[in-house]
Amino acid sequence: MSNRILILFAHPLFEKSRIHKTLTDNIPEGVTFHDLYEEYPEFNIDVEREKQLLLSHDLIIWQHPIYWYSCPAILKQWIDMVLEVGWAYGPGGLALKGKSILQVISTGGAKTTYQAEGFHHNTIHEFLTPFIRTAQLCNMKYLPPFVAHGSHRIHEDELEEVGKNYNWVLNYFKHQTPDFEILEKYDYLNDWLTENRKA
């Protein structure tokens, strides 16, 4: 059986990232891991190949750190190049219709800083608006993001917990289509997860 989940991973300095090391270490078998900076170090993205990858998977994951309230450059390059008009959106652009998209992100700041009265004045959800709209424009279901906050000062045991959670999510979605109706009520996928893992 071919893999359902495709992880599009973007980290320009992966070798120094504790959090993404932990996350990727916890990716189970049967998930396609696609490391964009490793595949396209010169940003010459193979559009045809990327399209094929998208078509052959149901759940697309954008896994990346948040830099300047957005994604690393190569993921933007990927969005620019791969999500073509007439294919992903626009007239006849129905290739991705019905697929789900999940963002797995890390932030330096703690969760409390991403609030209206917090340091960043906006919520994660607000900052992610461009991605949400992109997914919607491509007729995809945008799931609440899986967020690892406070990567600057995260403890070992917290890190381990994040890894376990990620592993659980991936294993869960490996076989089941996400129930969008239920999930969209949550801000973070982490919240849904805490409830369901305990149950």
Binding site: N44, V47, E84, V85, G86, G90, G92
Partner: protein
């Protein structure tokens, strides 16, 4: 007559064509191949050619003359002037040392002192043809040993002139020799002779600079290729003739002419024109040497001749080795230098014939010493082969930098770079800048010395040798970077490593797509064409200069590389449509043509719509229009 000429040409050419490739194949130098083919076609084996072999040699000696012209061409006057002290230092000490030892030996044997001196001087000469040809073939001309050999040989070439002048003084009889070397000047007084000699060399210099170059320019303008070849030959012949006329060594004269022309714009053209003639004539010369070995004499007194050969070589070797030590050649270089020059050279034939005519030595000794000379020439390629196999690897691998604790570093060296020229050294520097220390294999010992001082771990020698690869740690290596200049050697290395150490990943340098094809056929996956990335990079800049945006041009370049790689793997299949495939010029052109045609049909852009707002508009509006209809 013409029939005779054709049959002779047939014999010589066939002999060379059969023997030399075989010799190369089993790892001997071409010189040995020529010598052996000379013996085979000579009077004592197959007998295709008789004693005219010696006559052929006089013609063929012209190959040596041409070779010195070519050497001169590669040497600029300033460089030559800088070398003058080294030339005298090496050369003079070699001649005096060797002649003295030989003289003493012959005195002990009870020879007449005139014979002892003349034979001593004769046997002191080494063979320019063999040594320089061998050095060039091995790519060692620029090493310390190569340069030292050159100094000695050049000095000998110069020394032949006074030696020829001195020999008649030793003659007991008053027979006037009728050799070409006794020129019209013989009758003139000494000071006049000196003036003429200086004048001759000076005139070569002057004509070279002020007459020949403008003349060549004129001839080049006619656009007739063969005229240029003809004038190159004429130049060399004329200089040689002039030199003989005034009683100087033609080799020396053409050497000076070469030096004068080294700075001219015609240097490379002259080189490529003379080169094939030189090669063939030298080949002919070596074959003549092989054919002239008198096996009759050999069979009559094999013990005596063998003893003389061994003694002479031993004496020459010893003197050279001591000189090498004095001039501080490194051991491996010194062995190459001393073994390389240990034979008796082609000048000995001339000098022997001369002394024979002067009745200084007997007919019998003349034959024996000629045989000794020829045999000693044969030993050199063999001695150098032994040096390569047994002596130099000993020095190359044993002389490790001894300061560092070797073991710990050993473990990290899981990258081996073979060939540390411009290509390999760039690779090595990038790795080093990132904290990766590679083990380096190179066959240029000067380079090796420098790199060792810089703290690199370097092994000296032929990278295709299994034992060297082993001591460089190929068994534990992860990566082999094959970056040797010569594609043949590079391929050989890759074949060896794939065969014996299949776990090692190979990253291979390829000069061009044809090298790359061969590597692909050998199963190499990671091939780096020198001529791809750089040229595409240049093309990108050219596009930018012509008004393209740099990023667009860059993306086109990236796509081109991808496309070209794909085209390579497609073409490699069609390459085997021809049953007997050999890369030749015509085939190369055919492939180029195919490529260019494919390029015409190729349009990268239609599928690429990224950031194209016109396309966006068209797609969105076009569809709307259709819907409206």
């Amino acid at each position: 007559m013409s029939n005779d000429f054709l049959s002779q040409a047939l014999v010589y050419l066939a002999g060379a064509v059969i023997c030399v490739p075989i010799a190369k194949k089993i790892g001997m130098s071409s010189v040995l191949g020529y010598l052996i083919s000379g013996i085979i076609i000579g009077p004592f084996v197959l007998g295709f050619i008789g004693h005219e072999g010696e006559g052929i040699m006089h013609v063929a000696e012209f190959g040596v003359v041409m070779m010195l012209f070519l050497i001169g061409l590669e040497l600029e006057p300033q460089a030559f002037w800088r070398m003058r002290k080294s030339i005298t230092g090496f050369g003079l000490s070699q001649i005096i040392g060797t002649t003295l030892l030989l003289f003493l030996l012959f005195q002990i044997l009870g020879w007449d002192w005139t014979m002892a001196v003349s034979v001593g001087l004769t046997l002191t000469m080494s063979s320019t043809a063999i040594v320089l040809q061998t050095l060039k073939e091995k790519g060692l001309s620029k090493t310390d040993a190569g340069e030292a050999s050159f100094f000695v040989l050049l000095f000998q070439d110069i020394a032949v002139i006074p030696i020829l002048a001195v020999l008649p003084l030793l003659a007991t009889t008053d027979v006037s020799p009728d050799l070409a070397h006794t020129s019209f000047m013989s009758g003139l007084s000494a000071w006049l002779q000196t003036i003429i000699v200086i004048g001759a060399v000076g005139s070569i210099y002057a004509t070279g600079a002020y007459v020949v170059v403008p003349l060549l320019r004129m001839i080049a303008k006619t656009g007739l290729r063969e005229m240029f070849t003809a004038s190159s030959l004429l130049l060399v012949v004329a200089v040689a003739f002039l030199m003989e006329l005034v009683g100087l060594s033609p080799a020396l004269g053409t050497f000076v002419a070469g030096v004068v022309l080294a700075n001219s714009e015609f240097r490379h053209e002259l080189e490529s024109d003379i080169e094939p003639f030189k090669g063939l004539l030298l080949g002919l010369f070596f074959m003549g040497v092989g054919a002239s070995i008198n096996f009759q004499l050999l069979s009559e007194a094999p013990g005596q001749i063998a003893t003389i050969v061994i003694t002479v070589i031993l004496i020459k070797f010893t003197v050279l080795f001591i000189i090498g030590k004095i001039f501080k050649l490194k051991n491996d270089q010194n062995f190459m230098f001393s073994l390389g020059l240990s034979q008796v050279g082609e000048f000995a034939f001339v000098l022997l014939a001369f002394t024979g005519q002067l009745n200084i030595i007997s007919e019998e000794w003349l034959g024996k010493l000629t045989a000794v000379t020829a045999i000693s020439m044969m030993t050199t390629p063999l001695l150098l082969l032994l040096n390569d196999k047994f002596i130099s690897p000993y020095f190359g691998t044993k002389e490790k930098p001894d300061k560092k604790p070797a073991d710990k570093i050993d473990e990290q060296h899981n990258v081996i770079i073979a060939g540390f020229g411009h290509f390999g050294s760039t690779v090595g520097r990038v790795l080093r800048a990132n904290g990766i220390e590679a083990t380096i294999l190179d066959n240029n010992s000067d380079q090796v010395e420098l790199l060792r001082r810089m703290g690199f771990k370097v092994y000296y020698g032929d990278a295709t040798r299994l034992d060297l690869l082993k001591s460089a740690g190929i068994e534990n290596a992860k990566l082999l970077i094959a970056a040797i200049d010569s594609p043949e050697i590079n391929n050989e290395l890759i074949a060896t490593v794939t065969k014996h150490y299949s776990h090692v990943k190979i990253l291979a340098r390829a000069r061009n797509r044809f090298d790359a094809y061969e590597l692909m056929e050998m199963g190499v996956k990671n091939i780096y064409r020198e001529t791809l990335y750089t040229s595409v990079h240049l093309a990108i800049d050219a596009l930018q200069e012509l008004g393209f945006r740099k990023y667009t041009a860059t993306r086109q370049g990236q796509k081109f590389i991808e496309y070209d790689d794909k085209a390579m793997s497609k073409l490699i299949d069609s390459r085997h449509d021809d049953k007997e495939y050999a890369i030749n010029a015509r085939r190369e052109i055919e492939i180029q043509e195919k490529l260019l045609q494919n390029d015409l049909m190729l349009q990268f852009s239609p599928e690429d719509h990224s950031w194209d707002s016109n396309y966006l508009k068209e797609t969105l509006m076009g569809k709307e229009k259709k819907r409206e209809e």
